[in-house]
Structure formats: structure tokens, C-alpha cells
Amino acid sequence: MNELLGGVKTLNKKLLRDLWRVKGQVLAIILVIGAGIALLVMSRGMMASLDTTMRVYYARYQFAEIFAPAKRAPNRILSDIRAISGVSAVEGRIVGGGLVDLPDEAAPISAQFVSIDPDAARRINNVAIARGGMPSALRGGEALLLEPFAAAHGLSPGDEIAVTMHGARRVFRIAGTANSPEFIYMIPPGDFASDPARYAVLWAPRAEMEAAYDLDGAFNEAVLTLSHGADDRAVIAELDRLLAPYGAIGAYARADQISNKYLTEELKQLGVMDRVMTPLFLIVSAFLLNVVMTRLVQTERTQIGLMKSFGFSNGAIAFHYLSFALVIALIGTAAGWIGGMQLGRMITKIYQHYFHFPFLIFVPEFRTVNAALMASGLTAGLGGIVAVAAAARLTPAVAMRPPAPPNYRRGGVVGAELLRIDQPTRMFLRRIVRHPFRAGLTVIGIGAAMGLAVMMRFNHNAVDYMLDASFNVIDRSDVLVTFAEPLSETAIYEFKAMDGVLYVEPMRSTPALFIHDGKERLAGVTGIPDAPVLNRALDSDLREVETHGDGVILAQQYADILDIGVGDMLTIEVREGRRPTLEIPVAGFIEAMIGTPAYMKKEALDRALKEPERISGVLLKIDPNKREEIYARLKETPMAAGVSLRREAYKNFQKLLDEGPGTFRDIMTVVSIIIAVGVVYNNARIAFIERERDLATLRILGFTKIETGYVLLGELAALTIIALPVGSLIGFLLWSYVATAMSTDLYMIPIVVKAAGFGYAAIVVIAAAILAGAFVQRDINKFDLVPVLKSRE
């Protein structure tokens, strides 16, 4: 070490030695700052990487800004659309749902089919060819397949794939595989999470799609890009007007496109984590630095006096001690940067599983360097400033005298005299009461660590709760079959007739535009049958939603979106069939967990639509032993536009959660242990140094190592115990904020509070405290008694 110091100025040598002397504490602080900075680098970098990749991808591949689905619109209307002010380009394409039948997969797989013009120079929603090439319009029978799906099933260009589209079975040869900005996040209808293996997209030449969907010279979805600064709402309104005669469901902007929506929600959630976590860590770091710095200045009063008497200015001394904090902060930042890069790369791999970009590379956001440096510099400043100011303020004469001895006075401790407690306990209780501010900070520091653990646990519980509620309580079906368009209720007999189908429940839903008081929202209404068995409408407390008469029950979010209350009339423009416009009273609101549903009694909906006994899909309960046969039958069912296997989805989702958020949760648990150990260890070390003399005296008086340790560690144990309810509260508040901030239109994160969550976090914190305590007990075990006899306070 000494050789290293050769060229450094004297004060800097002192600085390095000071750091080395308290290396344990310095390490603890570096770890906490490092963890905070790592999360900052990871979340900001991830956000920036996702955001940049998304923007570049969207721009380069002409991701549409407006989507306008219809039933059948003639191609000639496209020139009218192109003439709408603000429209830059438009294409009419054909899209449709269907199934893919893979010989190795028992179950049918939902698929989306999209028309493509292989020879076009420019395309809206262009594809990024991954392998192979464009399908040939001339040869026929060729298609492009979504790359992640192909990869998940080991399919390559040249392979054949059997599909059911618009009720007809046919086989495509895979010309190539591709990614598309439209399908970055693929969520099969009725599912929660992206599963590349369970949702296929095929692009077929337009002629093939026209034939398959019977849309010669027509399209069923217009996709548009806008010129810069165009008013998308005006364009949507005009589109809806133009396409209304052709069965328009309602045009929507890119913001409501499902893949984009999940992506932007993900970015938003990363932002929430960043906003909550980084400050939390830096506050704890500042606190730790403050504790260490205050102690350093106290022990160095004499040196400060000496330095001042030698003529060092206040500024030089302040700078000297501040650089102590800054060096720690800088090392922490560097460590955090390296850690954040590693975490970022790790998380990127997980993201690549969910989000299908042709490329996604974790690049730390350059601005984050500044942010990290500023954050840790601020931390160092906050942590050091009080101590440094105190150091600079001391006059040389005062500084060279020892500080006033701890001044305990009678009456300071209420009750302690009344209790029959032993003296060692009394010692630490008095110390806590005498330094309430420091004790309070320690409690908050430990509480922060616990809060983090509580939050992560609740996050876990909430997801479990959502899954359990969704798959085991709300929807108890095994298979959901959706139809391309509503069918007569008699369709259920076809399913009932299948061997092994135990129960068939019809479902009815219709797309619609909700309008109230000048505000509107593209949505859907679900008709609830009397006494549903498989899929029940339940609110977030799992209470059955009660529909009243002809009224509609809305998800709570609509109250704000549409500024609507109970009893108000809601205008519902149905975007299906005869497209009636309905006036329905709002009967109530519910807290829904998933999506923003609107419920009506099925009878009432049928009556309002004047379409009795139509169903848009069926839910099946099946005999698990007949699963293979049923799957085989479903593959051949022409009316099925989508098949969702609930059990598979459940299992798959849990697997994904373990890989993705599970990893994140493990990281956060480690991090909360770091904080707890850091806080407790630092506090214990300081208490140890401050009381070394007292503790050694106790040893000399014949107290054993354990008995002596008790005086010190008892205090920490007491503070840790006090911190448990504080940490529970911090955790609850953090979680309430995070759950609310992360809740979206897609799903509402329930604020599930389970005692076990607090228990888990308490165990983490107590284990950390014991670990820190063990470090300090080790110091007690080996310290030298002799110098104590001669030392003053």
C-alpha cells in the first residue's frame, strides 16, 4: 500500500489510509451505492435501448400510425382515405384469424394471417426478413412465417405448414421467416403473456388472402401513416365516417395497437422502478455515508485542529473530507456501472423472449453517466455535508480538545428505572433514547431494506393472485374457442357432441365505441349468461358482478375516461352486425383486474342488439384424458378463428414469470439483503468504535465476549425489531405506489397484502442483521484490552 502512495500529496495519502481503515464500512456503502446505480443504469439503459430500438424499428419498417379494421371495404375507397388531410400513405390489407396445425403439437395454435404485396417497393408495416425470402405471388402457396414462432418450433424456409383460415384447411410452403414492428409483443387472444410458440403470424400474397377470405378487390383493414403534425383524432373520425358503410369496427391509433401498447406499458413500468428504486438506494447510501463521515470527523477532531493550526484553509479541510465521501461514491458508481451493464445484458435476454425485435442490444444510456454521477455525487454531498461543515467550523483550539463526554442526565429515560431490567440492557436502551435521531435513521435504513423485500414479495403475491384468480376462480374453462364472427347459438351443439367435452358455455361479446359527454373510447361489451359456470364476471375482490336489468356495469377506469357516473346514459355504437347505436344506463362500476371490461346481462345485450341467440365463442370444460382427441377435432373445426388453451397458458405464464420477473425478484432480494447488511453493519461498526472503551472495560470487569457483545448487538437487535413494523409500513406504501403506478388499461395490479409477505421480508432483514452482527461480534472477540486502561474518553 505504501508504495502506491508515493506520489500522492500528503492529504490524499491520509484520505486513502482513512478509507482503508474503515474498509468494511466503505465496502458496505459502495455496495449500496453500487446497487442503486446498477438499477439506474439497467432500467434507464433498458428503457433507452427499448425506446431507441422501437423508434428505429418503427420508422425503418413504416409501422402504421392508424389502423382501421372493417368487414369488407372496396379498394376504390382507398383513394378517398388517401385524400384525408394529414394522411401520408395508406394500404388496404386483408387480415384474418385462424389456426395452425403442427404435426408435433397436439393442440391447435392460434394464428393471424396478413396479406402482403411481395413486389411492392414500400410497404406500411413492412417485414424484416430473418431467413429465406419473400413469398412468390406467381408460384402461389408460399408464405412468410413469424421468426420467433418458426424458431420456437424449429421451422425453416422450405418447410410446409398446415393452417385453417376462414374455415378452410390449406398448406403453405414457408418462403422465409420475418419479424415485424406490428408483432413485437404477441399475445394470443384470451392469454396474458407473450408466448412465441403459441401464436403464429403468416404473411401470404394478397391474391391468396383475397381468395381465402373472399375479399376480391376489397380489404378488411386500412393501415395508414400520417404526415408530420397530423391530427390523428381528426383522421380517425374521418376514417370512421368513410368506412362505416363497410362494417368498420372503429379506427384506432398506434397507441392502442396491442403490441405497441404492451411495449410502451413496459417502458412505463421500467420508469416506475427507476423512479422508486434509485432514490431509495441513494437515500440509504447518503445516510450510511453520513454516519461514517460524522464519526470520522469526530475521531479526527485533533487532526483537524492540527491541520488548521498548520494553516490549511477551511475549504481545503472541507474538500479533504468531502473527497472521502466522493471517492466512495465514485467507486460505488463505477461498481454500479459495471453491475448495471451485466444486469442490463441479463435483462435484455429476458426481454428478447417477450419482445421480438430483429435486434435488441443493451446500450447504457449515455446521459445515465451524468445522472449516475450526479445522483451519487449528491448522495456523497448529502451524506458528507453535515460532518464536513462541522469539521470546517471547528476552531483549531477547540478541535484539539476532545469532544465533550456523553452527557446522560437523570429524568432522560422515562420508565427505565421502574422496570426491573439488567444494567447491560439499560445501557443500550438509554443509548437509543439519548440518540433518537441516529436510532431513527438506523430504523429507517433497515426499514427501507425491509420495505424493498416486502414490495418484491407483494409483487410476487399480486401476480400469483392475478393468475390464480384469473385461471382458477374467474375463468375455469380449459379451452376458449373464438369465432371469426358471431354464430347462431346452435353452434354449441357441435362442441357438445365432441367426445370428452364435459361442459360448453357460450359467450357473447361485441366491439363498440363508448361515447359520453364528448369523450369516447373503443371498447367491447360482454354479455353475461344467467348463472355462468366457467367464466364468471368477478371484480378484484372476486365478488360476482351483479348486472341490473338492462344496465351496463363498467370497469372503474371508464369513470375517468368517459367522465361518467352511475345512472348516466352511455352511448354505445356497436361496431358489428347491424351496427346499432344504443343508449344504455350505467348500473355500476367494478374494479377489474384484467382489461377494462363492460358487462351486461346477455339477454339484455341480445335485446338491445336485436340479435338474440348469437354467440361469439364458446368455453369448454374437457376430460383431461380425451385432450388429444379434442385438440385434433378443434384443429378441424372451420368456425374456430382462435383457440386458447387455458391450462397451457397458465403453465406457460408461470414459467415465463419465473424466468423474467423471477430473475428480477431474485436480484432485488439480494439487493435488499445488501442494504440491510450495509445499514446494520455500519451502525454496529460505528457503535463498536464509539464504545470500544466501554466494551473493553466490560471485558476487563469479567464480562464474557458474548455478554459484552450483547450490550452492542442488543441495541441493534432492538433497532431491528423496531424497524420491522416501520419496514412493513414502508413496504406497503412503496407497493401501493408501485402497484398503482404500474397498473394500466391492460391489467390492474391488485394490492394484495399478505402477512406472509411481511414475514418473508422480516426473515430477510433479521438474517441480514444477524450476519452484520456476526461481523461485529468477531471484532469484539479479538480486540485488545490493554490500551483501554490508559485511554481517556
Binding site: Y408, L701, F703
Partner: protein, 262 residues
């Protein structure tokens, strides 16, 4: 011969007899301490410091002994070794026949806990405990402790029992420290410069308290000082210099601290 060390060698044996002098009946003529070739070297190689260079001495039980010598003479090292807070490099230090040099940490702790009372130059009171609580602190871990108030009474501080150290003068603090040391009814009492931080008048008060306690309690008492005059209050004066025992004076008659000429 079963020495008192046996009592802490096996803590479960409550039947072990207390040292005879506690009952005031002198049946055991073994000295409290006997050292042979006691040496202590700090450090190694060329920088090694020889604090003790082979000390042979005997301290009869019940005596008041003053250790005199200049700084660096080794008197503190000797007291630390006999007090069980430091370990000799070689030689033996027998406490009623048991060798302190060969005891491990646990047994040394037990030795201090059962037999040794310490009075430090800077009192070393627990600032967060009142005078009475400081005494009770030790009484709680002692086997047959004296009542804390009685101990304070013996040093004349009964009426200051509920004061915190910061509310007491230096002399008062040192007397609390003495009360704390005697509360366990120690076999030996070690005082390292007990008057070092005090003015003469206060120091005399402290020495008188120590002399009185030596007479009334019979605890073998070792006092370190560099004030030669203090030797007159002792039964025996050990002169140390350069790590060696140079001279032993035995006083036929002890002076009272008030009679000392400074």
C-alpha cells in the same frame, strides 16, 4: 492443595470453599501471587520491546502493595498480567498456585469475573449508567456481591447514587469505580494510577478509601503509582525499573494517606 482458581476452573462446583480470608480465618498461608521468571516481549525481531525481563516476586494475601517505577519500567505490564488482561511471553504467574500464563481466554475471563476488581486511571465508568447502576453492573455478574448501596456507602457516595458520571467530579467518579470494584467482594484489587487524574486532596481521599477497604475487606490490593511517597501507605513496596524488580521494601508500620508528604 486446592486453590481458589479451582472455583472458576469448574463453575458448576458451588461447594468449592471461598478463600479463607473472606471469612477472616487465616488457614491458607499460600501467597496470593508468586511469579517466576515472568517476561513480556512486545513485537518481534529488532523492534521487540522487553517490557518485563524475568520478574520473580511474591505477594502475600491480604496485603496492600504499591508498585513504584518510572514510565516504561514494566509496572503496568506486570499489573495487566496479574490482572488477567494480558499474557506473559514466558515464565509463570501463580495465583494461589494456578498459573495465569497458561490460562486460555475463557478461563482468564472467569478469573477476572470471580476474583479481580479493577480501578482505572480514567475511571472507565459506563456514561449511560448512574453511580448505583455502574456498581450493579458488576454485582449482577458476581457470585456473592455486596449490595450496591453498601458498596457506595463504603466509599462515602451513598447520597450520590442516582447521579450519572457526567454529574460527578473526578474524585467522586473514581470512588464509584472503587465501589464497583469492591462490590463483587474481589480476592484481589488492582488499581492502575488511581489518583493519576486527580488533584492531591482528592487523590488522598481515594487512597484512604483503598486503604480502609484493604483493612476491612482483606482483599489483596495492588496499586500502581509513580509518586514514590505513596509507598508509605503500603505493607510492601515493589520497585520496578527496566522490566526488572529492583527492590522490595516492607513497611513495618503503614502511614495514613493524610500523613503523606508530597
Amino acid at each position: 492443595m486446592r486453590g481458589p482458581i479451582a472455583a472458576f476452573a469448574d463453575p458448576d462446583q458451588d461447594a468449592t470453599p471461598r478463600p479463607a480470608y473472606i471469612e477472616g480465618v487465616s488457614v491458607n498461608e499460600q501467597p496470593a501471587f508468586r511469579t517466576r521468571g515472568l517476561a513480556k516481549i512486545y513485537g518481534e525481531g529488532p523492534t521487540a520491546v522487553h517490557a518485563l525481563r524475568g520478574v520473580d516476586l511474591e505477594i502475600p494475601k491480604g496485603e496492600l502493595v504499591v508498585l513504584l517505577g518510572p514510565s516504561g519500567s514494566g509496572k503496568s505490564t506486570l499489573l495487566n498480567i496479574l490482572g488477567g488482561i494480558d499474557r506473559a511471553t514466558s515464565g509463570e504467574a501463580l495465583f494461589f498456585g494456578e498459573d495465569l500464563v497458561r490460562m486460555d481466554d475463557r478461563r482468564l475471563t472467569r478469573y477476572r469475573r470471580k476474583h479481580v476488581g479493577f480501578v482505572f486511571q480514567f475511571y472507565n465508568l459506563m456514561p449511560s449508567l448512574t453511580a448505583r447502576e455502574n456498581v450493579e453492573l458488576v454485582a449482577e455478574i458476581a457470585e456473592k456481591p455486596m449490595d450496591a448501596m453498601e458498596a457506595l456507602d463504603r466509599v462515602g457516595l451513598k447520597n450520590r447514587a442516582d447521579h450519572f458520571p457526567s454529574e460527578l467530579s473526578g474524585g467522586e467518579q473514581q470512588r464509584v469505580a472503587i465501589a464497583r470494584a469492591i462490590a463483587k467482594q474481589p480476592t484481589v484489587l488492582f488499581c492502575d494510577e488511581p489518583t493519576g487524574a486527580l488533584d492531591i486532596k482528592t487523590g488522598v481521599g481515594v487512597l484512604r478509601a483503598l486503604q480502609d477497604l484493604n483493612t476491612t475487606l482483606g482483599a489483596t490490593t495492588l496499586i500502581i503509582t509513580h509518586a514514590a511517597a505513596t509507598g508509605a501507605i503500603a505493607d510492601r513496596v515493589l520497585h520496578l525499573a527496566d522490566g526488572q524488580l529492583r527492590k522490595v521494601d516492607v513497611n513495618e508500620t503503614k502511614k495514613k494517606p493524610e500523613e503523606l508528604v508530597w
